[in-house]
Amino acid sequence: MEQVEQMDFVEAKEEKRKCVIDVKNLYKVYPLGKNYVRALNGVSFQIYEGEFCAIVGTSGSGKSTLLNMLAGLEKPTKGSIMVAGERIEKYNENRLVKFRREKIGFIFQSFNLISTMNAIENVAMPLVFRGVPKFIRNKRAEKMIELVGLKKYKTHKPNQMSGGQQQRVGMARALVLNPTIVFADEPTGNLDSATSEEMMTLMRKVLSEKNKTLVMVTHDNDLAALADRQIHIKDGKIVKIEEGNER
């Protein structure tokens, strides 16, 4: 009974919230020799502004495939994707790059910092692609680095930092362009559990402060439990959508 009421409440709340991701009937089929792999097999869901949403599933279930398509890194075989007000499924590569540059932040599992650049330069990278002058972009990058608590490591190169620190730089880099949505594919996959916890807490804090939408892929149920909502995937299909703890 209580649960039903709560559901109604949530529903009503969602009505008012802005929908930033709207996926309808999404398919992705990979050719594999003479056979086909249905990585995504008809997926539909919405994600709302400011939400922290986890995509959960076992390895090979199609989580990354889904995330990549949301971030405009890959094209769907079939279906429509609306992200941050743009219908991206028909976009060509150039247009997708522009879309990412303007609306998307991305956090990688393996950090993917440029090894020759220090923390500030790494964080400032996306601003370089936008043509922001050096003086301004360094200032903004410094601010972001302070936000993720790496004030002392501004001029450190990636190999002079721990994994957790590197991922925080990665987070700062994803946020520096002030994106509408941040995507993260197993952001703690390369970190130990204590650091992972720390990382998740920080991520939640920073993102909710800025009212950003976060979509995170993970196979770890404990981490997924921290999200507002969990989308469970199995064999390319959504098996259940679970509301988690309220903010």
Binding site: N68, N94, R100, Q109, M125, P126
Partner: protein, 492 residues
């Protein structure tokens, strides 16, 4: 992405792989050096050849001499069609492609200064031609009064000689120049003359001497054994002829009072059209002749049945054509009119075609090294795209424009080409110096520029090297541009 970021980023990428970059640049450097050095040799050699030809006259110039019998048909009747007269000069200047016709009046003569005798031409040329001459000292002739004002050619002293017994001793025997200051010591010149007197008596006896006088360096050479084939002068120094002429002083020799106002620039054995003569303004020469001999009695001017013509007749014309491609046509037309005409065209043409071969061969050799260097650039850039696949993927995920990625790789390749070309240019300049130094030691004059790097060669070489870099980097850059952003996500 701003241009500055692009440059600093590509430079940074190159610097990341220092050794590989330096090795690739080294390849370009060798290629650029080889092509610049080869072409500098071709250019230098061509210039040397052209210069040596230029001393014989310009390549757009045709020299016109009279017809076979210089207008006389043996009967005392003048054939005016092939006479180098004012009328025909006007005809030539009306021809297509002809820009200018300048007449030349020539007299031959000799003079005695101390124990030396010298013989040479006195040439009247137009003012422009005279003004072109560079002087070592003195000045150009002004208005001639009683004396004909002239400038003296740079090698005129080589035609002075003295007698020791039966032997004539001159510069070509001793390599010593007589100590004569022509500007002070040359006062007069005895001219050899043949008057085109239509009157019968003198005609026959004169024909012989005139033939001998005007046909350059032919008949008398055998008699003057000791003299080298130096010039027209040797004919007149021949004792035989001087005796003949002395017997007919009354009509064969006429004295010109002369003032040398300047000496032409150049070494004593540098040959040019005027190096062995006395040069003056043709208008001054005409005025001088009229003043001295009277309008109707000018020496060397032909007469028609004993009557003087009412126009000047010259010894040769210089016909200036607008472009060297037209020389042949004009020359042919003039020859068809019955004149004898010659030009440097054929010589220049054959030189040009053989130089083209040399250029092609040398350039080809240089090009091979350059091509190898270009492949080196392509290889390096290709390696770089493989190495940086992940990084490029990350850049694309973070929103780096595809065109920017392409430009980034192209500018790296261009950078290698540019630096290689630049350093190669400095290398080539050094090598060019060495080549010229070695070559200069092998010639007497001590100055031999067989390798010449013109500013446009330098510019073209660096530009071409950069361009080559861009071409070589094109496919790697395309590959980088088309790499999938997913490369960033795949974990190996």
């Amino acid at each position: 992405m701003s241009f500055l970021d692009m440059i600093s980023m590509s430079a940074g990428n190159l610097w990341r792989r220092k050794l590989r970059t330096i090795l690739t640049v080294l390849g370009v450097l060798i290629g650029a050096t080889s092509i610049i050095t080869m072409l500098s040799l071709a250019i230098g050699m061509k210039k040397q050849m052209l210069e040596s030809y230029e001393s014989y006259g310009s390549i757009t110039e045709i020299e016109v001499r009279g017809g076979d019998d210089m207008g006389s048909d043996g009967s005392g009747q003048l054939n005016k069609d092939t006479l180098l007269s004012d009328t025909n000069m006007e005809t030539f200047s009306q021809m297509e492609y002809v820009e200018k016709v300048s007449p030349i009046l020539e007299y031959y003569g000799s003079t005695k200064i101390g124990k030396y005798t010298g013989s040479f031409q006195v040439l009247g040329v137009d003012k422009e031609e005279l003004a072109k001459q560079k002087l070592a000292k003195g000045e150009l002739p002004g208005v001639s009064g009683n004396k004909l004002e002239v400038i003296a050619g740079n090698s005129i002293l080589t035609s002075f000689y003295y007698m020791r017994g039966d032997e004539m001793i001159g510069y070509w025997d001793t390599q010593e120049l007589p100590d004569i200051d022509l500007m002070k010591q040359l006062r007069k010149v005895q001219m050899y003359m043949n008057t085109y007197d239509g009157s019968s008596e003198e005609n026959s006896s004169e024909e012989n001497s005139s033939e001998e006088n005007s046909s350059e360096e032919t008949t008398s050479d055998t008699e003057g054994d000791s003299t080298e084939d130096t010039s027209a002068s040797s004919e007149y120094v021949d004792p035989d002829i001087s005796t003949t002429t002395s017997t007919q002083t009354n009509n064969g020799q006429i004295e010109f009072p002369i003032q040398v106002t300047g000496m032409m620039e150049g070494k004593v054995d540098d040959y040019s059209n005027y190096s062995q003569g006395l040069l003056t303004d043709i208008d001054q020469l005409k005025a001088f002749l009229i003043r001295k001999f009277g309008k109707n009695n000018i020496p060397e001017q032909p007469k028609d049945n004993g009557k003087p013509l009412n126009e000047w007749v010259y010894n040769s014309f210089k016909v200036e054509v607008d472009r060297s491609e037209h020389v042949e046509e004009v020359q042919k037309a003039i020859q068809d009119m019955g004149f004898s005409a010659s030009s440097n065209k054929d010589m220049i043409d054959s030189m040009n075609s053989s130089m083209q071969m040399v250029e092609l061969v040398l350039g080809g050799i240089g090009m091979v090294a350059f091509l190898v260097a270009a492949i080196g650039i392509a290889n390096t850039m290709m390696m770089s795209t493989y190495e940086r696949t992940k990084e490029i993927g990350v850049m694309k995920v973070l929103g780096c424009d595809m065109r920017d990625i392409k430009k980034l790789f192209l500018s790296e390749a261009a950078f290698i080409g540019f630096v290689g070309g630049m350093v190669g240019l400095f290398f080539s300049i050094a090598i060019s110096h060495v080549i010229n130094n070695v070559a200069s030691k092998s010639v007497e004059t001590g100055d031999m520029q067989i390798s010449l790097i013109t500013w446009w060669l330098a510019l073209a070489a660096v530009g071409f090297s950069t361009f080559m870099g861009i071409v070589a980097g094109y496919f790697p850059a395309r590959r980088a541009m088309k790499l999938s952003p997913l490369a960033a996500i795949r974990t190996e």
